[in-house]
C-alpha cells in the first residue's frame, strides 16, 4: 500500500531518525528541494549512512534524487544504490520516456556493479511539466522499474502559467490524465503534496477528491497529515462488511457454476467483485 509517503529532508538527522515512526506507508529521503545547494554533499553522505545502518521498520524507503538536468544525480545514485535499505528512487522532472531510460540504464549499471538483482530498484516518476503530463503513459511504460507516476504541484503550476487555487482546479485535468495513464500502464497513480500543513479540512477535501479520481495515495510533508490521508483511504466498516458479503456471494455463485448473483438487490459481476477485493486489500484483509 502506498497511501502515504512522507518526505524527510535529507540533511536533517532528527527527521531521518524519527520520521518513519509516524506511521506513513513509505518515506522519501529528500536530496532535492529540501537541501540547499551548498549542502548537497553532506546530505548525500548522511542519507547513504541512514540507508546503510538506519532503522525504517517495514516502510517502503525511497530517495528523491536531483534531476537528470543537474550535476548531482549521478553522485546521488552512486551513493545510495549500494545501500541495503533502498527500495526505489523518486525522480523529479521526468518529462518523457527518455528520462526514464537514462535513469534505468544508470540504475542497471550500478545494480550490476554492486551485486544487486537487476530491476530491484523501482522508479517513482514526478511529472512536473505540461510535457511530462502529456507523456504520462509513455513514461509509465518506459521501464518495468516504474512503480508509480506522480503529478508535480508547484512546478506544474508554474509551467502551466497558473496559480494555486483553493480547490486545485488548475491541476484537475492533469490529475485525471495521470490516473488514466497510470492505470492503463499498471502502475500506481500517487498524488502530489498538500502544502498548507495546518489546513486539515482542506487536506481531507483534497484527499477525498483524489481518491474518487482513482489515486492510490498521496505524498505528505508533515506527520500530522498521515492520519487524515489514511482515514480517507481506509475503507469504513460498512464498506468492508459489504465487500465481504460480495466476495462470499460470488464464491458461492462460482461453486454453483453461476456467473453473476444478486446481493441486496444489485447484480454482482466481475467488476463489482474486483472493487470488493480492492476494498479488502485496502483494509489489509486480503493480500
Amino acid at each position: 500500500m502506498r497511501r502515504t509517503m512522507l518526505y524527510l529532508p535529507g540533511n536533517n538527522p532528527n527527521m531521518l531518525t524519527r520520521g518513519w515512526l509516524f506511521g506513513s506507508d513509505g518515506v522519501i529521503l529528500d536530496l532535492e528541494d529540501a537541501v540547499a545547494m551548498s549542502e548537497k554533499d553532506t546530505a548525500r553522505i548522511l542519507v547513504s549512512r541512514f540507508l546503510e545502518q538506519g532503522e525504517f521498520g517495514d516502510r517502503e524507503v525511497t530517495v528523491r534524487i536531483n534531476g537528470v538536468d543537474t550535476e548531482y544525480w549521478r553522485d546521488d545514485l552512486a551513493a545510495i544504490v549500494p545501500m541495503k535499505r533502498l527500495d526505489g528512487v523518486r525522480a523529479p522532472k521526468v518529462d518523457g520516456p527518455e528520462t526514464v531510460k537514462i535513469l534505468d540504464e544508470e540504475l542497471s549499471i550500478l545494480e550490476d556493479k554492486n551485486g544487486i538483482p537487476q530491476g530491484k530498484l523501482k522508479l517513482f516518476c514526478l511529472l512536473e511539466t505540461a510535457k511530462g503530463i502529456w507523456n504520462a503513459y509513455d513514461i509509465a511504460t518506459a521501464s518495468p522499474r516504474v512503480a508509480a507516476i506522480i503529478p508535480g504541484g508547484e512546478d506544474l503550476r508554474a509551467d502551466l502559467r497558473t496559480e494555486r487555487s483553493d480547490d486545485g482546479t488548475e491541476l484537475e485535468w492533469a490529475r485525471r490524465m495521470l490516473v488514466f495513464a497510470a492505470r492503463a500502464a499498471g502502475v500506481d497513480p500517487l498524488d502530489t503534496v498538500y502544502s498548507r500543513v495546518t489546513d486539515d479540512a482542506g487536506l481531507r477535501r483534497e484527499t477525498e477528491f483524489i481518491k474518487q479520481l482513482g489515486f492510490a495515495g498521496k505524498s505528505v510533508i508533515h506527520p500530522n497529515q498521515i492520519a487524515i490521508v489514511h482515514d480517507v483511504f481506509n475503507p469504513t466498516e460498512a464498506e468492508i462488511a459489504k465487500a465481504q458479503k460480495i466476495i462470499a456471494a460470488a464464491k458461492e455463485a462460482a461453486e454453483r457454476g453461476q456467473g453473476a448473483v444478486s446481493v441486496d438487490g444489485k447484480m454482482v459481476d466481475v467488476p463489482v467483485v474486483k472493487r470488493a477485493e480492492y476494498t479488502l486489500i485496502r483494509a489489509g484483509l486480503l493480500a
Partner: protein, 88 residues
C-alpha cells in the same frame, strides 16, 4: 592550515570542524556539547574509526554536539573530511 566543516547545531546533529595538523602529529579530538560528558569515549571511537576508514591522518577534530547519534557523527566527520580534501 586548511579547515573544513560539516553539520549543524540543530537537535540530534553536530558541527564537525577539521583542521590539518603537521605531518606526524596524528589525530587529536575535542568534543563539547550535549553528549560530551557521557559518551565522549564512544564518540572518540566513532570519529577515529571513520577517519581510519578514510585513511585520514594528522588532523585536529573539533565536535560541537547537540545529541547526534553515532551514525550522524560518522556521516558529518566523513563529509567534513571529503570537503577538506576537496573531493565531491
Amino acid at each position: 592550515m586548511k579547515t573544513s566543516q560539516a553539520g549543524t547545531l540543530e537537535s540530534m546533529d553536530c558541527l564537525v570542524t577539521l583542521e590539518e595538523a603537521p605531518s606526524g602529529a596524528g589525530v587529536s579530538i575535542e568534543i563539547t556539547g550535549a553528549s560530551a560528558a557521557r559518551f565522549k569515549s564512544a564518540m572518540e571511537k566513532k570519529i577515529t574509526e571513520t577517519l581510519a576508514a578514510l585513511e585520514a591522518k594528522d588532523l585536529k577534530v573539533t565536535v560541537q554536539d547537540n545529541g547526534a547519534l553515532d551514525i550522524v557523527l560518522g556521516a558529518r566527520v566523513e563529509a567534513a573530511y571529503k570537503r577538506l580534501k576537496g573531493a565531491k
